[in-house]
């Protein structure tokens, strides 16, 4: 009787282990496939950036450049304004991020600490929901709206303000979550320790939400940096973002794939650098648990 039970248990364990092994293989296979999907485009982009125009346009593509042509990276700037486009994008993304963070933190703090006075959960959710509609729906109205402002559509300011439509709800909502996570007792303790609310905020609460702020900044910055749809319609003469420069490497029937990829690769450098520098905060911030007692 005892013996029989023992054998059965052993058999059961073996079967469970087998099942787990299969799950693991499946998981690894999936992971492999996923890596191919994400890394291959990057790889192909990189090698294409180094190819000659002729090689980049071969019907049967090569997976390693026959001849390395690093001067593509200089060639993309033959058109002098192309470099300015990177600068314009950088200015717009950074200014928009700073503004989103500043306004979003103020609103987020209000929603977190004074939910009733600030209009309650419904208002906070309504603000977030602004992020959810398809942006293209307001494309034309926004164009006419900005066309009637003193600075017009073709300016840094127009995009800096326009991107707030998308970034501010996100920043507000996330900052609200981060401020909620920072215990209110800590602020109250600071008041009782003799600190005024403003000084207590900067001294005690702000340091707790800095990791969160950095991750919000990253999200906002990357959105503004990569935005194409509105930029394409709004700007193009006085101001050009890099996203609307990329399609200009297509001339009539011919596309300069190597230039396009070289320029894209350059445009990839700022966000990747930022991400590498700030990844420690990103992970802490995006796990949405800043501090617990």
């Amino acid at each position: 009787m005892n013996h029989a039970t023992g054998a059965m248990t052993a058999g059961g364990t073996e079967r469970t282990q087998d099942a787990w092994r299969h799950v693991r293989y499946l998981f690894l296979a999936f992971l492999g496939l996923w890596i191919v999907f994400t890394v291959f485009p990057l790889y192909f982009m990189t090698i294409t950036a180094f190819k000659s125009a002729a090689e980049a346009n071969l019907t049967v593509p090569t997976f390693w450049p026959q001849e390395w042509q690093p001067r593509n990276f200089i060639g993309v700037f033959d058109e002098r304004t192309n470099f300015n486009a990177l600068v314009d994008s950088f200015v717009i993304a950074s200014a928009n991020t700073a503004l989103s963070l500043f306004l979003g933190s103020l609103a987020g703090y209000a929603f977190a600490r004074f939910p009733r006075q600030a209009g309650g959960e419904n208002l906070a959710f309504w603000i977030l929901s602004n992020r959810m509609f398809p942006p293209v729906a307001i494309l034309v109205p926004m164009f006419f709206l900005f066309d009637n402002t003193p600075w017009g559509t073709d300016s840094h300011l127009s995009l800096i303000i326009l991107y707030l439509v998308f970034n501010l709800p996100l920043a507000t909502w996330l900052m609200m979550v981060f401020f909620r996570d920072a215990p209110v007792e800590i602020e109250e303790a600071a008041y009782l320790d003799g600190w005024t609310p403003l000084r207590a905020f900067f001294k005690v609460t702000l340091p707790l939400v800095i990791p969160g702020m950095i991750s919000v900044a990253m999200l906002c910055w990357i959105f503004a940096w990569n935005e194409y749809l509105f930029a394409n319609l709004f700007v193009g003469t006085a101001v050009r973002t890099y996203t609307i420069v990329i399609p200009t490497f297509t001339h009539g029937s011919q596309t300069l794939w190597n230039f396009q990829m070289a320029f894209s690769l350059l445009a990839l450098i700022p966000p990747v650098t930022l991400f590498i520098l700030l990844r420690r905060y990103m992970v802490r911030g995006l796990s949405l648990g800043v501090v617990k007692g």
Binding site: A189, D193, W195, T196, L208, G293
Partner: protein
Amino acid sequence: MSGVSLQKVNKIYGSGADSVHAVQDLDLEVSDGEFVALLGPSGCGKTSTLRMIVGLESITSGQILFGDRDISHLDPQDRNVAMAFETYALYPNFTVADNLSFPLEVLGLPAELQRKKTDEIAELLRITDILQAYPPELSGGQQQRVSLGRALIREPSVFILDEVMSHLDAHLKFSMLFDLKRLHRELRRTMIYVTHDQVEALALADRVAVMSNARMQQVGDRNTLYNRPANVFVADFIGEPPTNFFRAEVAYHDHDTIISVMDSDLTLQPGTAAATSLRESQRKEVIAGIRPQNLGFAETAHFLTADVEISEYLGERSMLTVVNGTTRFQAIAPPDLRVNPGTSVRLYYEPLNVMLFDPETETLIA
């Protein structure tokens, strides 16, 4: 340092139909250097009261004085109060030393002096070895000490402790109770200790203020609360196990006043003073109360007869649940007592220990 005086303090949250009257006409006098515990069940308004004292909550009406200074409408940072929080509320990104000196930093004291005071307070609370640690690395007991230290480091008019022991295990709690008592004796600060645990309150405080349903029920020392509870709530809330209450009718004979418990054949003999006041008022009904500790087997002239229903052995004592008619009550018995359920027992009492309450208002008659 100063005493605290609350005069007719009210707190109403919200307005209109949704409003909650959290604190109602509260009066409390704490003298200079006294240790008072604010005791009550959850939701009784004690937390609102303490938040009004420190200034984290505005008061709807009434006055709060520190000494003779009216601080009712001052900001918390201008009241010179210190508070230790239930959740400790330490600044997680500061070291223990920086946490302790934080209240001094805002005063602009020279760094030298800040360090000296920090060391002193660390010495007092025996936390010198963890000064360079960060709060998340500390145990609950250590965090507790740091939070006490931060509250004590400057000289506050009033020192408030909010449920500071509720997250500590029993053993640690005991040693913290001892330390707090020692601290109060050494520092002689005015302290208000908020808790829902009567053991803590009675062990620590000079006087205990019992709150319930947004109102102050009674303020007094241990003996007063235990022997002369102001009303049924206090008699029930203070003491473990809770007081036995009986609805009873009063009969007046020539020399005797007899209290007959309804739905049973139990009769109780009130003390002489109580009998006199009953006779004067000629009331027909009372709520009678007697503590399980005051019912025993040592023979006296007066006793209640009832059948044992349950006998629970609780280590240092036994608890008997007995029944007469449909009236159930409890008595404390020696631990070695062996009685079988169904046995009829006599439980003796002193008439002095019979408490009488008005059945309508539930306040103490005698």
